[in-house]
């Protein structure tokens, strides 16, 4: 079992599952799957060796890392770092963050013939090897504007143990003109600041994700 599950090992009436479980299946026969959508399940605590092996020191060759740049690429180098916080204010050490963005000209990899910049990254929190370090850190370039009136921004997808369905958010950059961004303008004004990364030092940004509470990050229904 997982270390985090061992605290608060409460008693629970196993027979009470909050409702009837009335499904039947005959495991010896072929039952065609119903045609509807496959439901989501949590990513669980043990994704690292499958999804983010390199960062955790596992042997599988990594498809995607947290480093989206090499020396040949055009655009301003930036770093985005942050932590994910649960409802108690504790940093989550087993979340997976995926990043999707356009290149410095505002083109996504799938819409441009220039595949030099993949625009996709992935990292687990708690991966940096340092004891207690629960940050995610992405090394990338500042994306260009991707639509009229838009401000430069990056899409993040968040998965973790305890999350039944993944969450999607969008990162904006302090100092940019955000006044006419088509996405941000649909977010309730009081919550917009949860989507704005702070510039700590030039081109080094901090973006924390809060799953609950007063500072709960805006997530989108996509």
């Amino acid at each position: 079992m997982h270390m985090a599950d061992m605290k608060d090992f409460g008693e629970m009436d196993v027979s009470d599952r909050g409702g009837k479980h009335d499904y039947h299946y005959d495991d010896a026969k072929h039952i065609p799957a119903s045609p509807g959508l496959t439901p989501s399940q949590t990513v669980g605590p043990f994704f690292a060796y499958g999804l983010t092996p390199g960062a955790y020191g596992y042997p599988l060759e990594e498809i995607h890392t947290n480093n989206l740049v090499d020396d040949d690429m055009e655009g301003t180098r930036i770093t985005i770092e942050g932590q994910v916080f649960d409802g108690t204010g504790s940093a989550v050490h087993d979340a997976v963050i995926e990043l999707i963005q356009a290149d410095h000209q505002g083109n996504y990899q799938s819409n441009t013939r220039n595949y030099a910049f993949a625009g996709f990254g992935r990292m687990g929190t708690g991966a940096d090897g340092k004891e207690g370090d629960t940050r995610f850190v992405f090394n990338t370039i500042k994306p260009g504007i991707t639509q009229e009136g838009g401000a430069p921004s990056i899409t993040l997808i968040i998965f973790m143990r305890g999350l039944l369905n993944h969450c999607i958010t969008r990162v904006y950059f302090e100092g940019d003109d955000l006044s006419s961004d088509p996405i941000l303008s649909q977010v309730p004004e009081a919550r917009r600041q949860t989507l704005i990364a702070k510039e700590i030092t030039p081109n080094h940004y901090r973006f924390d994700i809060h799953m609950q509470g007063e500072k709960e990050t805006v997530f989108f229904d996509i």
Partner: protein, 239 residues
């Protein structure tokens, strides 16, 4: 093509909080997700070119071999990735991970006192073909205990991560096995309240595709939401 105004099909899900699944109490968002009336950019239709993957990436019985075969029942896990209209999803990246036959994960934080298998890591990946088909060879995982409640056991399962065409087709889920007696007791499986919907996660044993003297075959078809239309053709709306 779907309209972004639809959002996700929440009618098929519980939502984000299921009290019985303890860690969801402090990790699930409490605000409803913001529904958009258009305005999203081409991140919606993002479909990267995945790198070419070696065949061995999809065979978990050989991709971590050290000095012998992994222990346990060899199984084929295969199926089709389609959207809700029956259209195949080609070029989808499918990544799987699982425990070994004893129900032990190699993850460093795993504490279950079941043996590790030196010839098995339990991670694999492949890319769906033009007809949406995929195929893995692996070992049937064991059930394993966890601390959600007293005597809690996860049913035997294989984790799946699918990256199809665009954000609508990003899915992380788990595949279960028919006849598993622990399924009625698992809060994660039961977080989907409708039995007919959660039963879609149970693979089907296929005698026809079981290979004699070699491996049982389990079928697991995955149905993704229809992809969103690409908001802007050929780059961005910059005139």
């Amino acid at each position: 093509m779907r309209d972004i105004k639809r959002g996700r099909d929440w009618s098929q899900m519980l939502g984000q909080l299921f009290e019985d699944y303890k860690s969801s109490r402090i990790r699930s968002p409490q605000q409803p997700p913001v529904k958009l009336d258009g305005g999203w950019d081409n991140a919606l239709s993002f479909a990267p070119k995945w790198p070419q993957l070696p065949d061995s990436d999809a065979d978990l019985t050989i991709n971590a071999r050290v000095d012998g075969d992994p222990i346990g029942e060899r199984i084929i896990v295969e199926g089709f990735i389609r959207d809700e209209n029956g259209k195949p999803v080609p070029n989808a990246l499918i990544e799987i991970w699982q425990a070994n036959a004893a129900g032990r994960y190699i993850h460093k934080e795993e504490l279950h006192p079941a043996p590790l298998d030196p010839n098995f890591t339990g991670a694999g990946r492949c890319i769906s073909a033009d007809d949406g088909s995929y195929r893995f060879i692996t070992i049937k995982p064991g059930s394993y205990p966890w601390g959600n409640h007293r005597n809690a056991w996860r049913p035997a399962h294989i984790h799946f991560s699918i990256f199809g065409i665009g954000l609508a087709q990003r899915l992380v889920t788990q595949m279960y096995f028919p006849g598993d007696p622990t399924l009625p007791y698992d809060p994660i499986f039961n977080s989907t309240p409708d039995a007919e919907i959660r039963n879609r996660l149970i693979s089907q044993f296929s005698m026809e595709d079981t290979v004699p003297e070699w491996a049982h075959c389990y079928k697991f078809d995955i149905v993704l939401a229809g992809q969103y239309a690409t908001p802007f053709e050929e780059g961005h709306a910059h005139g």
